[in-house]
């Protein structure tokens, strides 16, 4: 009922801001250019938020998983995988749309241009390759010492560069003096995604984020999902028009690209769309309304 009273898009923006602030509220870290080292780092946030960000009080699931996979024992973390499975199984990519701070940054940059390019479907599949490499490379590409690297964090993650690399790398003189080619590469990747965010909606989330790819696997089968009431739908096309990811909502309401921003739900003039725990086809064969 809340959704019918409050525009979910406004609520979502508030939740995004609160999430970004709460997950990075260790202000002392920014002041001293250090990182939080307290017991809250036992916990993982379910979204991409670099644990080396001066403000971060919890661990990043991708960073922590990779760090464990890359360590000498190459240990897979059931703790992190379980957390992500619970979150994904419950709501799919809702976390991407509502809680991810880097998603918020991309969306804010997107406001500088009203014209948005649509990323080809094939390119959005790239994130699944990144997910596979994120999990496999730290185990397969091991150095002589038996230790590997968190390759996604090392070569790609623009959230890590923005949240940790820029403030710590440029802010601390002893780190700044040893920055080299790798930092330049990471900076270039970050700038690429930030600039691309102006012209297309959340390019990193659509094409590259391994966490988004993992949650995308759950979108169709998550407990809470978007339901289309076909009796109410008048095929006006507004849901398709407002969808920032250009998803054909009546056809694929729970496609892997959907980050559950629920703009479509707000735009629907007849209330045919709902984000709910209801069965897949509430009024179909089970409801018995359909008698042919």
């Amino acid at each position: 009922m809340l959704g019918r009273v409050v525009r979910l898009s406004s609520l979502r923006r508030a939740v995004q801001v609160i999430s970004a602030v709460v997950s990075n509220f260790y202000l002392k870290g920014f002041a001293q250019l250090g990182i939080y080292q307290g017991p809250a780092k036992y916990a993982c946030v379910p979204f991409l938020n670099c644990y080396s960000c001066p403000g971060a009080w919890a661990a990043c699931p991708v960073g922590a998983m990779q760090a464990l996979l890359a360590a000498y024992k190459h240990q897979f973390s059931f703790y992190i995988a379980g957390l992500l499975t619970v979150v994904g199984g419950a709501t799919g990519r809702l976390v991407c749309g509502w809680f991810c701070p880097f998603g918020l940054v991309q969306e804010i940059l997107g406001r500088f241009s009203s014209r948005k390019l649509v990323i080809p479907r094939l390119l959005t599949r790239f994130k699944f390759i990144i997910l596979a490499l994120t999990l496999l490379l730290p185990v397969l590409l091991v150095g002589e010492t038996g230790v590997s690297s968190p390759y996604f964090c090392k070569f790609i993650c623009p959230a890590g560069t923005l949240e940790a690399g820029v403030p710590l790398g440029l802010g601390r003189p002893e780190l700044r003096s040893v920055l080299g080619g790798l930092f330049s590469w990471k900076l270039a990747v970050m700038v690429f995604f930030l600039v691309a965010s102006v012209f297309t909606f959340r390019p990193f989330c659509q094409t590259t984020c391994p966490l988004g790819a993992f949650y995308a696997l759950f979108n169709r089968i998550s407990l809470w999902r978007i339901e289309v009431n076909s009796d109410r739908c008048v095929s006006c096309g507004r849901c398709r028009a407002v969808c920032p990811l250009a998803i054909d909502v009546p056809d694929r309401p729970n496609g892997g690209d959907c980050i559950r921003c629920l703009e479509c739900r707000d735009a629907c003039p007849t209330g045919a769309l709902a984000f709910t725990r209801a069965p897949v086809f509430p009024d179909a064969v089970v409801g018995g309304r359909e008698t042919n």
Partner: protein
């Protein structure tokens, strides 16, 4: 069955497809059960990870500055 609009036709096609595949009722029940099974599996994995002391390992990694993240790797 009269279809009022294109959306109904689409959903109807999907329903028929599902019925052919496994029966719509079964699909509905299976779909919801699958969600619960996934969440339960996730909880079990989370618990297993806690028992294996992985939270401590995560913390030990997360309290150190990740040089790779910064670009010093």
């Amino acid at each position: 069955m009269q279809y009022n609009n294109e959306a109904q036709r689409r959903v109807q096609r999907t329903r028929k497809g599902l019925l052919k595949f496994c029966g719509a009722e079964v699909c509905i029940v299976m779909s919801r059960r699958l969600s619960f099974v996934l969440i339960l599996t996730g909880l079990l994995m989370f618990g297993l990870g806690l028992m294996r002391g992985e939270a401590l390992l995560v913390m030990q990694k997360a309290v150190r500055i990740c040089l790779e993240c910064i670009g010093l790797g």
